[in-house]
């Protein structure tokens, strides 16, 4: 899942980037409001985190513009302002959620998960056949058996599961699982899909990840 973080304070941005990356998200950071807005409009992010006080264009302005161009994009607002009126202003500008600094990083993660699953399912568990992914615990089970996945593997599987029974192109995959620095010329996706297949499908009668030749991958329970 790709996240854009627009936060001017480099130290704040740095730990959020580190924490989110370690949690399996592909994160881009912008320290400037207007540049952040351009990035958010061009790249297919799954969620944008915006700080209120920003140089260039302030968080509210970014939020409003982004709401116009991408009405469905989840937006999480970060701010040091904690007045009820500030919250209302933030939410009215189009933010889906609001976190006041200093926030708990675990809460930030939980809210990101909530926003991500909004409009899909009200559960933290994604499943196909006997494969289950618990997003809260960040654990994957196949037939009740725990499968240890790396962050990237987890992210790819999550993206596939969120779009199960649908063809995912390599481009889509890179856009949602890797951040903007990803070199699209590599075959890294195929490598990771191989890892995932080994871990998930080995020793089972029913492979779940399928290659659509020349197009991409899909996850489905019917052959």
């Amino acid at each position: 899942m790709r996240i854009l973080l627009i936060e001017d304070d480099k130290k704040v941005a740095s730990f959020i980037l580190k924490g989110l990356t370690e949690s399996g998200y592909a994160v881009d950071v912008s320290h400037d409001g207007s540049k952040g807005l351009i990035l958010a409009e061009e790249e297919p992010y799954d969620l944008v985190i915006i700080d209120w006080m920003l140089p260039g264009k302030d968080g509210l302005g970014v939020c409003k513009s982004l709401r116009m161009s991408k009405p469905d994009l989840p937006i999480l607002f970060l701010t040091a302002k904690d007045d009820i009126s500030d919250k209302v202003t933030g939410l009215d500008a189009g933010a889906d959620d609001y976190l006041t600094k200093p926030f708990s990083f675990l809460e930030l993660l939980a809210r990101i998960r909530t926003l991500m699953r909004r409009g899909t399912r009200l559960t933290e568990v994604l499943a196909v056949d006997d494969l289950e992914m618990n997003l809260g615990e960040r654990k994957v089970y196949r037939g009740g058996q725990f499968i240890d996945l790396s962050n990237k593997e987890f992210a790819i599987l999550e993206f596939l599961l969120r779009n199960k029974n649908r063809l995912i192109t390599r481009t889509e995959m890179t856009e949602h699982v890797w951040n903007i620095q990803f070199d699209r010329g590599t075959n890294l996706i195929d490598v990771y899909i191989n890892y995932l297949r080994k871990k998930l499908d080995t020793g089972t009668k029913k492979p779940l990840i399928h290659t659509v030749r020349g197009a991409g991958y899909t996850i489905k329970d019917t052959v």
Partner: protein
């Protein structure tokens, strides 16, 4: 217990009008009575004098001429206007009396004593309203041989006087009434704006300090009171706004480093790390903690200065020696960006200052200069003496060749937590209090700070301090 101004005004004014009405009525009444008495006396005296002309004394006998006088209506008929005349011998035996007395003897009504002079006598009994004038009759030899008594009924004048008395009472009552009415009206007029002011002031609290008193009044006192109160509210509102801004700034300024601390700790704890990662995390945390401490220290310093609770230990300082002593310390702050620091100080310039504060102030300015200047650019500290009309002053200048300050920001750079770089990039490490503290220290020492800047060329901060001379 407080008595309402309205009540007090009414009481005072009613009392005043009552007093005045009573005094005026009494004096009118008394002088009227006196006048009537005077008038009666004159009339009776005249009558007595006229009748004394009718009497002769010869050979031990009193001879009375009869004539028109005895026949005049006031002597003939008994009425309210009647004048009773009696001529007596020295023992008050009647020799002749006027017809209107009939059988009555005038002498019975009065306490008569042989007198050697004329006088007016009131009647004995209260129920009989007579006054009598007694005039002795004296022969040419000087022997007293009798008296003329002239008397009149005072019923009518009593009626006049009692009417006057009644009128006076009515006047007094009316005066009380009118005074009371006027008092209520005036008291209302005076207290109405006061009560309006009071109700606005009483309803005012921190959230409604933007209210103003809008009482329309022509009275200068009320106008001035309204104006003063409104100015007070204005000042209060400004202070409260400043305090609110300051505390929201403080909370905002602390929130960011606390976010960084909390976030780094939570992310750090979220999984196992290598010792190197822990070391790097801990040093980041330490740096951020120092930042929090710096914010709190600076805020406390300013708060103490605001409350005048800051101790300034003044001592004479020779600035040339001072700069020599601390140049090495200051250079450390310029070393990271390889910026040369030059100190140009005229000899023998002395100020009276707190060493620590002076050091802190110059350090703040040097560190600012270093922060906003490119690598390798020179930072100049110069101390010189200037003479102006107001006397001698010392100028401490810190000049850099950095990026300067946009003219829009110049007016605000001394505001607390104001930063020219709005992105609050922590690269500069600033918290926006440095110049506020510099200004505060300069002002504590009876000086001031000025700042000149050319965007792209550099900034010069000048601190003016009063010079002292060696004794």
């Amino acid at each position: 217990m407080a008595v309402s101004l309205r009540t007090r005004l009414v009481v005072i004014m009613v009392g005043l009008s009552l007093g005045m009405a009573v005094v005026i009525s009494l004096s009118v009444l008394l002088s009227f009575r006196h006048l009537i008495k005077q008038h009666l006396l004159e009339e009776l005296r005249e009558e007595a004098s006229d009748f004394s002309e009718l009497v002769d004394f010869s050979g031990g006998k009193i001879l009375i001429r009869q004539g028109a006088d005895w026949l005049e209506p006031e002597h003939k008929y008994d009425s309210d206007h009647a004048r009773y005349m009696v001529i007596t011998d020295t023992l008050f035996n009647t020799v002749q009396k006027s017809a209107n007395l009939g059988d009555r003897e005038l002498q019975y009504y009065f306490d008569l004593h042989p007198e050697d002079h004329s006088r007016l006598i009131d009647s004995k009994a209260d129920s009989i309203h007579f006054v009598c004038f007694i005039r002795p009759l004296t022969a040419s030899s000087g022997v007293r041989y009798g008296y003329v008594l002239s008397a009149t009924n005072t019923a009518q004048t009593s009626t006049y006087i009692s009417i006057l008395e009644r009128t006076s009472v009515i006047v007094v009552v009316m005066a009380i009434f009118a005074g009371g009415l006027m008092a209520v009206f005036l008291a209302r007029r005076i207290t109405r704006p006061l009560m309006a002011i009071e109700s606005i002031a009483a309803g005012m609290d921190l959230s409604s300090l933007d209210q103003r008193i809008t009482v329309k009044s022509k009275e200068a006192e009320i106008k001035n009171l309204t104006k003063s109160l409104n100015q007070l509210f204005e000042r209060l509102q400004r202070s409260v706004r400043q305090i609110n801004e300051f505390s929201s700034n403080v909370s905002h300024e602390l929130r960011t480093p606390l976010t960084i601390l909390r976030g780094n700790i939570e992310v750090g704890l979220s999984r196992d790390r290598t010792p190197d990662e822990y070391v790097s995390l801990l040093s980041d945390l330490l740096e951020e903690t120092m930042h929090v401490i710096k914010i709190i220290d600076d805020m406390l310093l300013l708060a103490r200065a605001d409350n005048r609770a800051l101790m300034v230990k003044r001592e004479p300082i020779d600035l040339a020696q001072f700069c020599m002593e601390f140049k090495k310390d200051w250079e450390i702050f310029c070393a990271a960006k390889k910026q040369p620091l030059t100190c140009t100080v005229s000899e023998g310039i002395r100020v009276e200052a707190d060493r620590t504060m002076l050091y802190q102030m110059i350090l703040n300015l040097i560190s600012n200069a270093s922060k906003y200047s490119p690598d390798g650019s020179e930072i100049e500290v110069s101390v010189l003496r200037t003479r102006s009309e107001t006397g001698h002053s010392v100028e401490i200048r810190i000049a850099d060749h950095g990026r300067g300050i946009p003219s829009d920001d110049l007016a605000k750079v001394f505001d607390r937590f104001y930063r020219v770089d709005k992105d609050r990039s922590q690269d500069s490490g600033g918290i926006g209090l440095g110049l506020s503290i510099t200004k505060m220290i300069a002002e504590l020492h009876g000086g001031q700070v000025s700042l000149e800047s050319m965007p792209g060329k550099g900034t010069t901060v000048t601190v003016f301090l009063p010079e002292i001379f060696a004794r």
